[in-house]
């Protein structure tokens, strides 16, 4: 991994998890990338995700964050479709 890159893990749940066929992947990004940059990259790489991305909430290290949040090396990012507990 180049020194100007970060590596994060991304978790998927429910419908987008099924569309992707995986519940977790590691992604390398340029340093300074935001949550929005990550979503754009994932959407480009996995067109099956596109119908879900506008409804996704994102958590970093298990806390809800906004799309402009900057990601750090080692972050655990979760792509959360609208929840439906209870």
């Amino acid at each position: 991994m180049a020194h100007d890159q970060i590596r994060i893990s991304v978790k998927f749940f429910a419908a987008p998890r099924e569309a992707l066929g995986t519940d977790e992947m590691d992604v390398e990004l340029p340093k300074g990338s935001t949550v929005k940059d990550l979503i754009d990259i994932l959407q480009d790489r996995y067109p099956a995700l596109e119908i879900y991305t506008r409804f996704l909430n994102v958590a970093v290290n298990r806390a809800y964050v906004g799309m402009q949040t900057t990601l750090e090396d080692g972050d655990e990012v979760a792509c959360l479709p609208p929840v439906g507990g209870g």
Binding site: K11, F13, A14, A15, R54, F55, L56, N57, V58, A59, R62, A63, Y64, V65, G66, A78, L80, P81, P82, V83, G84, G85, G86
Partner: protein, 145 residues
Amino acid sequence: MKLFEITTKAVSADEVLARLVEPSVGGVTAFVGVVRARTDGRETDHLLYEAYPQMAEEQLRQIGGEIQDRWPSIREVAIVHRIGRLEVGETIVVIAVSSAHRQETFDATHYAIDRLKEIVPIWKKEVWEDGQAWKSEDHRGGPTG
């Protein structure tokens, strides 16, 4: 005893209530969510619940904190949500709120189930005889829009 829990095991309302009972408690209000046989005119065969367990437990704990901020007389809150495959009639979630006096436990219990449906990362798939679908009550996108 864990007060905020995501579990794959069967959930018993009595057992969750017992987690809250101590001498200063005068009343416990509980909400028990159960798998319904019909939703929107379709017969449910079973439900599949999935969670982001660590975050879900943290969010449940946050709801407990919000309740104690809003209603300082509330003594304790317990929320236990089951995940995995659930059949019709089985218990999905138990929310229990205890206090020295009953009044605020009703409002707090209502608040807890509404917040759970809003912010806790748990997902439900309805499975019918002829199909299946992920279901959410919020189609606008949830807590951070």
